[in-house]
Point group: C2
Chain length 216, copies 2
DNA sequence: TGACACATACCAACCGGTTGGTATTGTTTG
DNA sequence: CAAACAATACCAACCGGTTGGTATGTGTCA
């Protein structure tokens, strides 16, 4: 087995190649139009490749959807792994700073801050179990990166009424809901509002008096 | 102007007519497959009418989407208006009972308890402003039915850190997010979990000690 | 009889996917 | 090293089938 140039499903594609360009195009276009409304031809045009190249790299449009979800997981992992909220020494501080970070990300155009996998899974959860599972893995995998901090904060404050995993997933629930509301209202204001409620929930749960800040 | 047989956009269509059957079919099929993946032919087949009947009642597929959102508003208003949570004498009790009621609704198949307008708005918010606005009106209109109780509960408990409208919208944010997570995980369990967090948020905000119950 | 509520038949455009083929790159071998 | 070979990357044209939408016919009822 030759390991010198592996292009596994979860590793990032070679930058500049047709595959990478298609995944970038999918990330942008699917977030703005949805998966079904995005045609393969449109993807190819945006990536500057032909339809033949598309089906050279992906067995089907569904396979592209799975790859796009995996690509999303990989790129967002990088973003959050290098984000500044990890610098806080206290786990609860890290958690609250994560929420602030998510709120800061809610800026610009809607298709720039919303979630690719949340958008896709709503459309295809019944028609493509492969994409559904890849989206679930992306969301749940990101939530899992919060669990250690939440667990530590729960231990510090003797919070036993729920679990770290449940709280981590709840953060993602609120964010996914915030994306939908932002789409309905055509702007991020309402999303900021709900994330502020989420932060207040954590502050009350962990009996942390809110720092003066961005709560509405 | 002939008022003897008005088919206004917001009133319920004549039961048994082609229009009503199409709107019922749209409610069911769009929730399970999404708006774009639902073809006009499929809608006609499910409703037992022909394509000619479809375009007799709706100028376009987009017009059906708007009508389906309005129809959703009308039918869900009825459901919630006659729901038992209004019976509690205390406004905070009514609010918490509303949340319990929403949790109870999260049962059965996913396409049976998820939200039509939340599903549609995610797909078409960029391609059809008419549908987007109808979906927004549906969600915001339902949230508005909670505002009076929230306002009264806030006054009773001297809660001033946020507004009744913001809290009402936040309940919908959490529910919409819960629907997405349920689709990603292919089951309502995680949605119940997040609604329990929402209830706990209200209990803490209004300093109400939780009744022994279904919180996880 | 005429207005309305549908049904039938049909269309141009577009869909995801396949085809046969070529250009490029890397590996083997003399 | 270079020629021979093999695999990959990519392309333009095309396929059968489906799409939303239209034009026109027909039965019904006031």
């Amino acid at each position: 087995m030759n390991l010198s140039r592996p292009i596994s499903r979860t590793s990032l594609p070679r930058p500049g190649g047709a595959r990478a360009k298609l995944l970038d195009a999918a990330r942008d276009i699917v977030r703005s139009k949805g998966f079904n409304a995005t045609s393969v031809d449109e993807l190819c045009a945006a990536a500057g490749v032909t339809k033949g190249a598309f089906f050279h790299h992906f067995a089907s449009k569904e396979a592209l959807g799975v790859a796009a979800a995996d690509y999303w997981s990989a790129t967002t992992s990088e973003l959050f792994a290098s984000a500044p909220y990890h610098a806080h020494p206290d786990p609860l501080d890290r958690l609250l700073a994560y929420i602030d970070f998510r709120s800061e990300l809610l800026a610009g155009e809607i298709e720039e801050f919303t979630c690719l996998v949340g958008t896709m899974v709503q459309e295809v959860h019944n028609s493509s179990n492969a994409i559904r599972a890849a989206c679930d893995a992306s969301i749940s995998g990101h939530a899992a990166t919060l669990e250690a901090d939440i667990e530590a904060a729960m231990a510090q404050n003797s919070v036993t009424v729920t679990t770290a995993r449940s709280l981590a997933m709840h953060t993602q629930t609120v964010l996914q809901g915030a994306f939908i509301m932002a789409k309905a209202k055509d702007g991020p204001a309402i999303a900021h509002d709900s994330v502020a409620h989420l932060k207040r929930y954590f502050e009350m749960l962990f009996k942390r008096v809110p720092q003066e800040g961005n709560a509405r």
